[in-house]
Subunit: 211 residues, 2 copies
């Protein structure tokens, strides 16, 4: 009965635990594919091409743009970041639910292009917990933490653009909840047009005694 | 973080197995309450007042209407049928998700009055299976089966008014799916306004260094 996969956009505050959550979701369930972004920035230590990002030159990226090969892209601090279209479309056609981890501007662009995309926003249980997690990383200066909190405060204004919020308190519970929400989304009428139309035709035929 | 309970409207073809599904849902999970309709028709054999329906006089029903004591009501074959408001509101306030099993016209009236109501439509996996289930009851004449199929064919035109379709193939799977969909619905931004607003205020205070 199901249409093909759903494009799932995941956004959320830095420190909300999106990365860990996505990793767990892909470990636990086999119906997901994670989209990998393309960027022109240089790899940081430990980052691998094809795992963390596809690292490409500015020319290669602009060639993609020209050929309409990106679902969305943006420029940030002088570098391009974008979502290659081909992989996403292949996985969706194969029935996988494809996860895109991008911020709100990108999320809204994806929705314009894929109106049936599911937009999820991951939140910490409290702002105090967010602050604690950002501080707990130990890798950021107080100024960086302050900037992330400012960014979170701005992003919080856009939450109503999302279909669901997901409160990341306990990782296990949150992974299950995320999976449930995506499974549930497969049941909207808009994602089952062929099934509904077929049922209508069959019922009409039965009423007329044609079957 | 959660707002109070969700009003869940369940419709679906006669023969789709709604009754059995609701019964199982209430057996398996304790966060649900089933709304009981009020009617002026006489009890059928085996039907109990307060379990199957609240059986009342026409005068008592019209008194409810006058006092705005019904969420929705309709008149069918000379009898009134309606949903008493008080019980539903009490249960929602107590955090229960309240299930209303009503047909499409009633469902749309509920949505007008409770815009956050969740509308679910239960379907059989195929029209053939629907026909088989209707025939299998053994209680209906071919004419009655025909009428139910005609009714189903009409109702199928309204499926897009619902938030989700639920395909009742296997009872266990379907009960879990139903529960998942209702749980997921608790996570929409519109049902978490207080939590989101509180997070915004807290983040603003943190950014300003007030906490």
């Amino acid at each position: 009965m199901k249409d093909k996969g759903i494009l799932v956009v995941v956004s959320g505050f830095s420190g909300a635990g999106k990365g860990t959550l996505m990793k767990r979701l892909l470990q636990e369930y086999d119906n997901y594919a994670l989209s990998i972004s393309m960027t022109t920035r240089l790899p940081r230590e430990g980052e691998q091409d094809g795992r963390d990002y596809f690292f490409v030159t500015k020319e290669a990226f602009e060639d993609r743009i020209a050929k309409d090969g990106l679902i969305e892209f943006a420029s940030y601090c002088g570098n391009y970041y974008g979502t290659p279209k081909e992989y996403v479309e292949q996985q969706l056609a194969a029935g996988k639910d494809v996860i895109l981890e991008i911020e709100i501007q990108g999320a809204l662009k994806v929705r314009e292009r894929f109106p049936k995309a599911l937009l999820l926003f991951v939140m910490p249980p409290t702002s105090k917990e967010l602050e604690r997690r950002l501080a707990g990383r130990g890798t950021e200066s107080p100024e960086q933490i302050q900037r992330r909190l400012e960014r979170a405060s701005e992003e919080a204004e856009g939450i109503e653009c999302y279909d669901y919020i997901i409160v990341n308190d306990d990782l296990e519970t949150c992974t299950k909840e995320l999976h449930s929400i995506i499974r549930a989304a497969h049941g909207t009428p808009g994602r089952n047009e062929a099934f509904i139309e077929n049922m209508r035709q069959e019922l009409k035929a039965l009423v007329k005694g044609e079957k």
